[in-house]
Amino acid sequence: MAEIAESGGGGKKGGKKGKKLSTRIDLTPMVDLGFLLITFFIFTTTMSKPKTMEINMPSEEKTDKPNEVKDYTAMTVLLSKEHRVYYYLGMANDPMNPPDVKVTYFQAKNGIRDAIIDLKKSVYAERNNGAAGHKADDEPVILIKADTTSQYDDLVNILDEMQVNGINIYALVDISEVDREFIKLTEQANTGN
């Protein structure tokens, strides 16, 4: 490879051979280049793929029988501006009896997480009490309704809370005017105090 042509051929015949030249070449620049390329590839490479969260949306197609959510298992979470979270228990189907809407934030203590844990506990405690319509395999159901003032961040956070708290039944649904009214009323009540 790195042969160095010896002078000769037309040289002195039978005489002493020329001084043997060293066949070693300086490898330092090559190694430098090697390391430079390594650094380049280390920096440009993407070893780890990005992480994702899977989401299943309720189907748009109308089914024959709508999902019946039992009142005592249900909780509705409303996402609003400034990362505020409003929530209430039950389906709020009765206009004469509006639900008790509470406001909280995404936080480790006394946030929405504790509310979800409480719901889970109460559903697990009540499903075996033999009351009408209560079944032993009832699971907590959470309806997520994001208002137009919320951000994508809030959506991912609440979906993450479902995973953190092991809630298997939840749905992302459109917010209704009634729910907007709930947010407004709660806001008014809070500023009034």
Partner: protein
């Protein structure tokens, strides 16, 4: 010296073979964090949504992307040249209406980065004929099936994007009968003492 040289070149070979270049991003998107650790699927259709709600499209499979652009060029009568199609396949995420596509693809790759995208239009009808994003997604899924895989759709959205913009993208997907998709998130630790934390301790 020789030993070090050997190691250096061994590493070099490894990185050259193992590397997959980071795709060029048209915008910087800061994804929200979650505890979910599902890896991004192969051959994914990537919809990037920037903080202003502009939507960009990319397809992580060169062969299917090529088939896609051929279909799009034919169906939307864009009459793209061979070079323009190749520019689309090799290019990064793309966010323009169909009528501006031809002009954009003529720009040399180095100058494409400075190009100000307006985003793929989404209208409220959510049907593939007028909602360009819906058309892109449907056409891409079709191209993926032709190529031999079922592409999954990933949404990479900035944490500060307003919800209505995200909702438009999600609605576009659900109206096209895509109910299952992935949201790109960055990993965060599981909070102690929660149900997910107990679960992860059980499995480990």
């Amino acid at each position: 010296m020789t030993a070090m040289c050997d190691v250096a070149f061994l590493l070099l070979t490894f990185f050259m073979l193992a590397t997959k270049f980071k795709p060029d991003e048209p915008v910087v998107v800061r994804t929200p964090s979650s505890i979910s650790d599902i890896l991004m699927p192969e051959n994914a259709i990537l919809l990037t949504v920037d903080p202003q709600g502009k939507v960009y499209f990319d397809y992580d499979n060169k062969k299917a992307k090529r088939m896609l652009i051929e279909t799009v060029s034919k169906e939307k009568q864009l009459n793209l040249t061979e070079a323009q199609m190749q520019a689309f396949v090799n290019g990064a995420s793309f966010g323009l209406p169909f009528n501006q596509m031809k002009a954009y693809l003529d720009i040399p790759p180095m100058e494409q980065k400075q190009f100000a995208f307006t985003g793929i239009p989404i209208d409220t009808s959510y049907v593939a004929e007028t909602n360009e994003l819906g058309y892109w997604v449907q056409a891409a899924r079709f191209a993926g099936q032709e190529e031999g895989h079922a592409p999954r759709i990933c949404i990479k959205c900035d944490a500060a994007t307003a919800y209505p913009k995200v909702k438009d993208v999600i609605k576009t997907l659900t109206k096209n009968k895509i109910d299952r998709f992935n949201l790109l998130t960055s990993l965060e630790a599981i909070p102690e003492g929660t149900a997910a934390w107990d679960e992860s301790r059980k499995t480990n």
